[in-house]
Assembly symmetry: C2
Homo-oligomer: 218 residues x 2
Amino acid sequence: MMVQQERAARTRQSLMRAAAEAFAEDGFVPTTLSTISRRAGVSNGALHFHFENKHDLARAVEAAAADTVRAITVAAEQRQDSALQRLIDATHALMNSLDEDAVVRAGFELVGTAPRRGETEATDLRGEWQHWIDMVLHTAKDNGELADGVSAAEACTAVVAATVGFEVLGIKDPKWVSRRTLSQYWELMLPRLASPERLPELVPHGPGPAAPAHTPHP
Amino acid sequence: MMVQQERAARTRQSLMRAAAEAFAEDGFVPTTLSTISRRAGVSNGALHFHFENKHDLARAVEAAAADTVRAITVAAEQRQDSALQRLIDATHALMNSLDEDAVVRAGFELVGTAPRRGETEATDLRGEWQHWIDMVLHTAKDNGELADGVSAAEACTAVVAATVGFEVLGIKDPKWVSRRTLSQYWELMLPRLASPERLPELVPHGPGPAAPAHTPHP
């Protein structure tokens, strides 16, 4: 029984991954359920056991992507005292997910796609992300972490726009969601956003060792 | 004869606008040529006189959007001595076009859409825009307009990402492509990007009188 449940969960995961990849490559509308089941290596019957139709699959992809984004913000919340560092860490984790996880990528892309845009049950991933950034920047402001004259609202506008830009540009070129690009972004932004007292303790490249600044010449 | 040519040009424009609006609302794939001709108020025959198929229309929309973007950068080049001010002015003009012109909006959106993404003849609007920003920021660097320690490349990454973010977010909420949002963005960024000597002469709200800072209470 356990074995069957595990197998069912694995099949569901494969179908969501196959759907995410097919939506990204061919678009939501032209993708058929047979394409998805073939790509996942499961029968049409197995697909229909898990998902009623394509919108049902899209909803599952969006919900899984939203779970990943929420797990990223929760992990960032637990890790750091500084609200600005939580923001830096969460953006790194999100870009890493966008780089590595087709489901997260598709989750963001589907929300903006015309046939899914009108869906009332669709998860508004960009909206949730924006809301979290707004909240963490207001905390930063309240804690005196922002530079004088910088409001949480204007910092939020700049950071939300840039991360959406990285996400969209990263679909065509993974360079945009690389750790190096995002580290350079924070190196540029932090001297403007952070109060001079807090700036020295902030780590633009997020958790883990720093990426090499330059690609070594062979 | 002149009258007929003018009428033909007007019909062509109406068809491109109708196509741009339909692509934005329903997506490229589900939109049919009959939907477009009906929306434009012309016959199917008239549509086929101007455009062979839907991809032909999409190419025309993309090309018209690219013309607008090029006109914006050319106008900015002519208007200002300062490279940074040219960049500010061009971003304002682009956001204004994205707000007001369905063809420009669709031109940017189509490039990122799966069925058009593979098109070799598609105009890479975001790529052209990125190239221009890169060029103008290198000029700013050469002219000593950038702050010490800020490279043209990292400034370009931040500005390109933010403008793509504004463009994409503006599809759902025009607030993101408003003059006020972009003015706030430049007010935040300029003290970091511009050299202290050049900063006082830069106008974050672009050409024309400043927009009111706050919506007046009724």
